[in-house]
């Protein structure tokens, strides 16, 4: 599988080597985010023990968790990439991710991801992209025509500017 090694970078950075010899250094900012998530999980009522005692993570445990996360992302991406290639697609889409999850034994995650994809479609980001593309398509003009129209606009704007009496 992957080759792992640790390189000290003078700070608390974790360097990770994947099979493709890529490098992902642990970001210092990662620890803050991950620590928040740890706290949220450990303080969740469904996770706490009967006596209600809240656990905490040792620093090393948190660092270990971050490594595991990076490995998870990398493994998932790699698997999804293969699936996309088999699908003759160059872009990794959500369905490749969900398929990959199934392959890797995380099929129970799939419904949640489908919900994410669904909401993304309805989000402003996706919708504004859609609107921009549609507007260009709806103008009914070819690319050349659009470029010409733009040049015309520039020209007439320039004329207006130059014709203003100074």
């Amino acid at each position: 599988m992957a080759v792992h090694s640790h390189h000290h970078r003078g700070q608390s950075g974790i360097t990770y080597l994947s099979a493709a010899a890529a490098r992902v250094e642990a970001d210092k900012r990662d620890t803050a985010t991950v620590q928040k998530i740890i706290n949220e999980v450990l303080s969740s009522p469904s996770i706490q023990g009967e006596n209600g005692a809240t656990m905490t993570f040792a620093k090393e445990t948190r660092d270990l968790l971050i490594e595991c996360c990076v490995e998870f992302i990398t493994m998932l991406s790699s698997e999804a990439n293969e699936i996309a290639e088999k699908d003759a697609k160059k872009t990794i889409a959500c369905e490749h991710i969900t398929k990959a999850l199934e392959e890797l034994g995380f099929a129970d995650y799939v419904p949640e991801l489908v919900a994410v994809a669904d909401q993304f479609k309805n989000s402003q980001v996706a919708q504004s992209r859609e609107r921009k593309q549609t507007k260009i398509e709806q103008s009914g003009m070819s690319n050349e025509e659009l470029i010409k129209a733009q040049e015309e606009l520039f020209r007439s704007a320039g004329e207006k500017y130059n014709s203003v009496p100074s």
Partner: protein, 267 residues
């Protein structure tokens, strides 16, 4: 030969419909009604460039339990029955654009509900609630995830939605790993021995055990194998002398085997 699989007898199976009025004990109703507004905020903010993780408390927006969209095409053929269908954009317009600047939208929003448990009653009973009842307000920034994905040279383009999906998968993974590790830590206290009142520390050894114990965590065994068996001297909180997790495996050796870099920290 006649293949006649037995359908499971569901007569005693009575799944609870989600009671949407009091979604969780911790979430007051008003937040649920504000989802619609906040779900846009989530994607706008997250997508903008991932700046400032530490302050980000990105919420996972919820809406009503997923239902198959009527007006949209269901292109996704390999969906299992019971899953909400969604259409996937074609190659051309699904590409991931470089991070564009975005306004700082509201980062705090309503928490998501435990979706998996009650919303499928039809044959997905084998799938447990992947959230384990946990609602997260924080998640890994999308930009960071994309960077990790593309650190692999084999990975080419990535659709815009994809890092969001990976983010969600990662959240679920973390919930699982964190809670399993905590379970290991709790389990080793052996009934408390009169002491376990204070917060207990989850050690790398606990996570290692959790990794070994779970099949889906097999890909982590390499990482886990680097965790040393013994630990340094404990913090001294609940050490009753006989029944502590350190003594269970190997006699604690003060400095031996400490391969972890942050050895300035002791337990």
């Amino acid at each position: 030969m006649d293949y006649r699989p037995q359908s499971p007898d569901l007569s005693s199976y009575a799944p609870q419909s989600p009671d949407l009025s009091g979604l969780q004990p911790r979430s007051p109703d008003p937040r649920f009604r504000h989802q619609q507004h906040h779900q846009h905020a989530r994607f706008g903010a997250q997508f903008g460039g991932g700046a400032g993780f530490a302050g980000a408390a990105l919420s996972y927006p919820t809406s009503a339990p997923p239902s198959p969209p009527q007006a949209q095409q269901c292109d996704y053929d390999s969906l299992q029955p019971g899953m909400a269908a969604y259409s996937v954009k074609s190659e051309g317009d699904g590409e991931y654009l470089p991070d564009a600047p975005s306004a700082k939208a509201a980062r705090r929003g309503p928490t998501h509900n435990a979706r998996g448990s009650s919303s499928n009653g039809n044959g997905s009973q084998a799938l447990t609630d992947a959230t384990l009842g946990v609602q997260l307000k924080t998640s890994f920034p999308v930009a960071r995830i994309k960077r990790i994905m593309q650190a692999d040279e084999d990975i080419g383009k990535v659709a815009q939605v994809t890092p969001h999906a990976v983010s969600r998968a990662l959240e679920l993974f973390m919930i699982k790993l964190i809670s399993s590790s905590a379970e290991q830590a709790r389990g080793n206290v052996a009934g408390g021995a009169g002491g376990a009142k204070g917060p207990r520390k989850v050690l790398p050894q606990h996570m290692k055990k959790a990794i070994i114990a779970n099949d889906t965590f097999d890909f982590l065994t390499d990482i886990a194998s680097r965790v040393p068996e013994a630990t340094a001297k404990p913090v001294g909180k609940v050490k009753e002398g006989s029944d502590s997790e350190e003594t269970k495996e190997v006699k604690p050796r003060k400095k031996a085997g400490k391969k972890r870099k942050d050895s300035g920290d002791d337990f």
